[in-house]
């Protein structure tokens, strides 16, 4: 069980890094010439999506290591995973029926990683109580 839990953490971390790197492929140029304010920054905010996945992986690894001794860590990890999963659900909703190939190829593994992490978090929290 612990191995599976760690597997989901590694998946989250690696997908976060892949997400960060994909910024440089999906956004050319990184800043749209002539754009201003928030319109000039979509590539950077996409990049921050990968950072948040890595942070979520970090919180989950903290939970695995210290969650039994310090229960609030497990609850924070669960909350972070739920928020990331809800964001992914919104992204999937926006892309649904528009670009399913894009959806399956890029977001399919994320559904597995975040769904698995949620399952692991819920098991952990139930076990800790």
């Amino acid at each position: 069980m612990n191995k599976l839990d760690r597997l989901f953490v590694w998946m989250l971390l690696l997908l976060g890094i892949a997400h960060i790197l994909s910024t440089f492929y999906l956004f050319q140029p990184l800043a749209e010439p002539g754009s201003e304010a928030a319109k000039r920054e979509p590539a950077l905010w996409y990049f921050s999506g990968g950072v948040s996945l890595c942070m979520c992986a970090g919180l989950n690894s903290i939970r695995i290591r210290y969650g039994r001794a310090v229960t609030p860590l497990a609850w924070v990890s669960l909350l972070a995973t739920v928020i990331m999963l809800y964001h992914l659900f919104l992204v999937l909703t926006v892309q649904l029926l528009v670009d399913w190939k894009f959806l399956l190829l890029l977001r399919g593994p994320l559904v597995v990683a975040l769904g698995g992490a949620l399952w692991a978090n819920l098991r952990f929290v139930r076990g800790a109580r």
Partner: protein, 130 residues
């Protein structure tokens, strides 16, 4: 005093996350860009994830403050998160100097402070607040 500043910087990062997310209703006309595909369809959602990143970064710093002494592994992970956040914030401000708001400057100050406090907690574990 230093402990209070440590707490203020962590809470500051966390709370600015809320302000950042609420900014999407101000800066974006459409929640989904019409007539677009791929990532071009999702700028609002990626703007929002910027706020989530601040929640997670601020949250990690708050966990470091409260449990950093009992769960030492929190400190290096928080340091990595803080360094990435500072580099990202500098990149953001260099990329868009015309959009350098006071809130962004304040956020950078909080993030630099949080990074320094995390380095301090890593070097002197016994001085870290429990």
């Amino acid at each position: 005093m230093l402990q209070k500043l440590n707490s203020i910087s962590a809470w500051g990062i966390f709370l600015i996350g809320f302000i950042h997310i609420s900014g999407l209703f101000w800066f974006f006309v459409y929640l989904v860009e019409p007539g677009t595909a791929g990532v071009a369809r999702e700028p609002v959602l990626w703007w929002a994830v910027g706020g989530i990143t601040l929640w997670l970064g601020g949250g990690l710093n708050l966990l470091r403050l409260h449990y950093g002494q009992v769960a030492r592994g929190i400190v290096p992970i928080t340091l990595a998160a803080n360094v990435v956040m500072v580099v990202f914030e500098v990149w953001l401000e260099v990329n868009n100097p015309g959009f350098l708001t006071p809130l962004r400057m304040l956020l950078l100050v909080f993030q630099v402070l949080a990074t320094l406090f995390t380095i301090g907690a890593l070097r002197h574990p016994s001085h870290a607040p429990a």
